[in-house]
Symmetry: C2
Subunit: 226 residues, 2 copies
Amino acid sequence: MEIILTEDVLSNNNEAARFNRDLFRKKNTLTINIMSSPGSGKTTLLEKTVADLAGKYRIGVIEGDLATQKDADRIRAAGAKAVQINTNGTCHLDARMVAKVLPEFQDDEYDLIFIENVGNLICPSSYDLGQGRNITMLSVPEGNDKILKYPVMYQRTELVLLNKIDLIDLLDFSIEEAIEDLKNINPSSRLIPVSARKGTNLEEWYAWIDKAYEEWTKAQKELETK
Amino acid sequence: MEIILTEDVLSNNNEAARFNRDLFRKKNTLTINIMSSPGSGKTTLLEKTVADLAGKYRIGVIEGDLATQKDADRIRAAGAKAVQINTNGTCHLDARMVAKVLPEFQDDEYDLIFIENVGNLICPSSYDLGQGRNITMLSVPEGNDKILKYPVMYQRTELVLLNKIDLIDLLDFSIEEAIEDLKNINPSSRLIPVSARKGTNLEEWYAWIDKAYEEWTKAQKELETK
């Protein structure tokens, strides 16, 4: 299926987000937008995820960074198709940037596309990319206070992956306090503690993906039969 | 000295930055703007710094965050005057926000005012606050790739404080590589490795402050005699 981008699509972010969302639906691709501070471990998580789930899902990755191809190179080395977006200074991805790289995915089928947003705990939460699901990573070294100090990010996410729990005994971080703070500002979200680097508790994250994918395909079928 | 903010001053960022810079000169206050990702350890460094240097300098702190008074409370508990700015969603401090809180410092003399910017490795680097010096913190858990992935931030800083070196044996981080990357994009800057939490190598950071303060006062005297 050839993907054609018209000027209309690229005229504003909402148009582009709608275009992306429609296209992901037509292609039966669940897209998961991952946001976090710089260095929380998004790319390490995706390296593990694309390798571990390669037999189950056809996975693509869109990498957002101000500069360099480093993250896309890492994902390719882990075995998945990856396209790098360089925002050249812009502090977040937007739907137009994403739309512009979608033709690079047109020749294959994808069950899942992960979009790794620019490392930033503020700006990315305000831009609809047309994604299916929104998740946020927090890492133990960043500290407990981030959830309440960056409320908009944590209010707009449905899952918090608490990464780097292998360091928890060395640092003052309380998982209970993080769950409590999250519950107060975003009652419907949940938290999964993991260590992407050590591979700890990734099965809970993979189970979340399975459930998200199942819900997505079910919702698609309901749309089709309407 | 009463600080009066006119509408002119607040009309745009450059006007406000000029106002702040002039005021800091008149008051003989060196201001140091500290930027980093969320959770790099800026507040922990400032807690240690205001306590350790209390006998030497009269220190004030301006804390920038989207939400909460958490950081200003921590600085006050460490023994310094602190004023919290809440940006309510804006991803950086600007000079107008800083100008608006300066009257809160008018009744005392300050040798040093630290401005802890919003945790964000992108947006804060583009806004002049009228500060004397610009520094950036990087923490070991964030990884070596940050310097090249966020080039504007590291090009516009004169000092990189590499924090959390107490964790370096557990993580894949090379100080040599960080120094090399920094040299390539910003030859005149330098890097000081520290652990704010453990108090490691803070004397090198304090020596940097002493030198910056000495240069500042010397430059002030030269301006006066012109």
